[in-house]
């Protein structure tokens, strides 16, 4: 069986409002409601609504032969409920077809797997519950960690939670001569299957599609089908993993990305021996060929495919350390607002904004950042964190007083 597995990451962070030193201790609302709402609405119009409609149309048209999978972060789900109930409804319709698989992840789209197993479990359970609540009891069986971050140990942790499989990047430096187009297993706990992203073909769609300086521009369905046909016959699974916002937001409608997707199933099903599968179907049908060793965490970000987009410079490390120093305080706190903010503050995007890697180039990091500089991002985040800590301490004191 040869198959294509589409997986889309759907995520929007809760962006912080400009939070000043004078606000510490006084203002406990950290979120930029206006910009969060307007961004959600903008992306809904450009991407979520038209793309969901297209996927639904394709699923009906091919009578179940076309399938996709999503992982939606908890912070996205919350914003969708608050600002875009129409988008929620369209996702619910998609899931109801039975041809769309949902994956689990951390509620806050966080980097918690690098820090604490206990906090990891709590946040994943919260996410599962949220999915069940919004999608008629749907329970994900496969786990997708934030930005495809993965290592042997993270894999073992995921296996301990009872998941069958996980997704990660088919990074060159971990694969070596091996191909991403097979199913592998975790090297510590072989019960956990690992699906690897074919970054060449995925990024052809996600990053290069609208790039007019790219030698293969324009990318047509015929061309793409020719490429997948050229994959050696014994290689079974092509994992196309990408941001859902690719469609209409990163690649604008004018690039023809929607037309590309509209005709892709037709071309694949008629011209090749590939089918479409969800990750669960791949796991059920494909044979694992061996262990994949990832001693040091990888991700799908940047050329390095490592963690340096979020962690590594002093700003990021300091913020990350100070955030998780509060874990034990949060654990003993049952205030719903504090727990909500705790999840929102962990979102990896806050650390992404502090990245200084591409300082000179002015690149995608700055495109996605609401701040002028990584320093602004850092100051704002630390101010918020200071207030959050004060609230935690106050709560702890009140609790003590009661007891």
């Amino acid at each position: 069986m040869r198959t294509i597995c589409f997986y889309f990451q759907v995520h929007q962070p809760f962006r912080l409002k400009p939070y000043r030193f004078f606000d510490i201790g006084e203002d406990h609302h950290y979120w930029d409601d206006f910009s969060n709402k307007s961004i959600m609405r903008k992306v809904a119009q450009k991407c979520y609504l038209p793309m969901n409609a297209l996927l639904l149309e394709l699923i009906y048209k091919y009578n179940g032969a076309f399938k996709v999978s999503f992982s939606m972060s908890g912070v996205f789900l919350d914003q969708m409920q608050a600002y875009a109930p129409d988008v929620l409804e369209s996702f619910q319709k998609l899931v109801a077809t039975g041809n769309v698989e949902l994956l689990d992840e951390t509620y806050g789209h966080s980097l918690v797997t690098l820090k604490s197993k206990e906090a990891f479990k709590t946040t994943v359970t919260k996410h599962t519950k949220k999915i069940q609540e919004l999608f008629n009891g749907y329970t994900p069986k496969i786990f997708r960690n934030t930005e495809l971050i993965y290592s042997d140990e993270i894999g073992a942790m995921i296996a301990d939670m009872g998941y069958e499989a996980t997704l990660t990047e088919g990074a060159k430096h971990i694969l070596g001569w091996k191909s991403p187009n097979y199913m592998y297993v975790n090297s510590i706990n072989p019960n956990l299957k690992v699906l690897l992203k074919n970054f060449q073909l995925s990024d052809d769609i996600a990053f290069r599609f609208g790039n007019k300086t790219w030698a293969d521009y324009p990318l047509t369905t015929d061309k793409f089908v020719k490429w997948i046909s050229a994959v050696p016959a014994e290689e079974e699974v092509i994992n196309l993993f990408m941001d859902y916002e690719t469609f209409g937001e990163h690649q604008w409608a004018e690039t023809g990305i929607f037309e590309f997707m509209r005709y892709l199933p037709e071309a694949v099903l008629s011209q090749t021996n590939f089918k479409f599968s969800t990750p669960s179907e791949v796991v059920a049908n494909a044979k694992a060929v061996g262990k994949i060793h990832v001693p040091i965490p990888i991700s799908w970000a940047d050329e390095e495919r490592d963690l340096t987009a979020w962690l590594g410079n002093d700003l990021q490390d300091e913020a990350f350390e100070k955030l998780y120093e509060m874990e034990s305080l949060v654990k003993n706190c049952d205030d719903p607002e504090i727990n909500r903010d705790w999840n929102y503050l962990q979102t990896s995007d806050h650390f992404y904004y502090m990245c200084t890697k591409f300082f000179s180039d002015g690149d995608i990091h700055s495109y996605f950042s609401p701040y002028n500089s990584p320093y602004d991002a850092f100051i704002n985040y630390m101010n918020v964190l200071s207030d959050f800590k004060l609230r935690l301490k106050q709560q702890a004191k009140q609790k003590e007083a009661k007891a």
């Binding site: 100070k322 320093y375 850092f378």
Partner: protein, 425 residues
């Protein structure tokens, strides 16, 4: 008097000092003609203000042409402009690269609209201001002495002296060495030096500045008088603003530049936090070293206790002083430094560097060498923990402020004027 800015439209301490001095002079019934490049119309009508932008220049005057000739060297498309932040600098260089063609066109048109700021075509404005100074000196005879504040108005002072033959006092609020360390901006230095040497007498805002003038500008000591700055209002400010954090607050407030020594504050903060984590440090202001300071704070892993506010204005400045438990000014080189006095007005104990002019007049403050971060940390810790010393500072600070009034400064200036006029005649 030739100044460059006047409240309420100021961007530095120069305008504030001019305001205080003028107020003091009025108190002593001195008639002051105060010239600024641009008047905004909302200045307090305390003296005879002259708006340089309104002055019509008689371009046929031959003397002016020779003055202008001496000034044209300033027009060299200079990128070296003091007081500019990085963004302004970017704008300025863009301007300098793209728009310099217009420089000569309007030189002898009759009026010139000054911006009165510190950016863009600063050197051009300084030169234009000099011509205007000459015109005013020719038009009016109702003055006895010319007083020029800082290098920006020195060429105007020199020109006015050349036209009128009346004595010139050069008032030095800051020198290029204070602004740029050892890497001085040569055109600015040249103007400062020319102004000091053309002057009949020099006023320096501190002994520290006087020493710089003598050492670096080759001026004989007897030609320089120390005229310390003062506070506009010596009353204690009772702020109703409450701080919302339980920790004590230690504050640095000023431009985050080499001159102000922000890095010593950061290092001292770490030492204090090692001993007592229940303190918050605040660095308020902006400047070219800001990002480096943020990096260092993150590297020292104390960003949850060390905050940056960015540039503060208006009420926020008062609030910042009000909620501070200790105010630190670790300046590497500060000709005077008025901000510690503002802190004292808010009943906040201060630590100041020995390398600041204000250290010469303020007794109730802890004085440390700017580089001595151990002493700075010790002093901070002491002021935070030993009630006695900070209480004493608060009580005595009030008394001390009363000595630092602009009336006293103006009285001293009047005697300086009298001496100059006596030797002239």
């Amino acid at each position: 008097m030739f100044g460059w800015e006047f409240p309420p439209h100021i961007s530095g301490g120069l305008g504030t000092a001019c305001y205080g001095l003028v107020k003091g002079m009025v108190h002593h019934n001195q008639e002051v003609i105060f010239v600024v490049p641009k008047l905004w119309g909302d200045e307090e009508p305390m003296v005879d203000f002259v708006n340089a932008s309104d002055i019509t220049i008689d371009y046929k005057e031959r003397k002016f042409k020779s003055i202008w000739k001496n000034l044209t060297y300033l027009e060299v498309s200079s990128f070296l402009v003091p007081y500019l932040g990085p963004e302004q600098y970017q704008k300025f260089t863009d301007y300098a690269i793209h728009d310099r063609t217009d420089v000569d066109e309007s030189i002898f048109s009759s009026k010139y609209e000054f911006s009165g700021k510190y950016g863009k075509n600063l050197m051009e404005e300084v030169s234009r201001y000099a011509i205007t100074g000459a015109q005013i000196a020719r038009d009016r005879s109702d003055f006895d002495i010319i007083h020029a504040h800082d290098w920006l108005s020195f060429p105007a002072g020199i020109a006015a002296k050349e036209i009128s033959g009346k004595p010139l006092v050069a008032h030095v609020h800051a020198t290029e060495y204070d602004r740029s360390g050892e890497s001085v901006n040569q055109p600015v230095y040249d103007i400062e030096r020319a102004g000091m040497h053309a002057a009949d007498h020099i006023c320096a805002v501190s002994q520290l500045t006087k020493n710089t003038i003598i050492r670096k500008y080759g001026v004989p000591a007897h030609k320089v008088s120390v005229l310390h700055n003062a506070v506009l209002d010596a009353t204690i400010i009772k702020s109703t603003y409450n701080k919302m954090v339980p920790e004590k607050i230690v504050t640095f407030l000023g431009r985050i530049t080499f001159q102000k020594g922000p890095e010593y504050f950061v290092e001292a903060a770490k030492k204090v936090l090692n001993r007592d984590p229940n303190v918050r440090f605040v660095m308020a202001g902006s400047g070219d070293l800001l990002n480096r300071m943020i990096d260092r704070v993150a590297e020292l892993r104390m960003a949850d206790k060390f905050h940056f506010t960015g540039f503060l204005k208006g009420d926020d400045v008062d609030h910042m002083y009000a909620i501070s438990d200790v105010y630190v000014m670790p300046s590497v080189s500060e000709p005077f430094g008025i901000s510690p006095l503002e802190a004292v007005r808010h009943n906040t104990p201060v630590i100041i560097s020995k390398q600041s002019g204000v250290a010469e007049v303020l007794d109730n403050a802890i004085k440390v060498d700017f580089w001595d971060i151990d002493a700075m940390a010790d002093a901070t810790f002491a002021l935070l923990h030993y009630e006695g010393i900070s209480r004493m500072f608060k009580e005595l600070g009030t008394e001390e402020l009363k000595k630092l009034k602009w009336e006293h400064v103006a009285a001293k200036l009047v005697t300086i004027y009298e001496k100059i006029l006596a030797t002239k005649s």
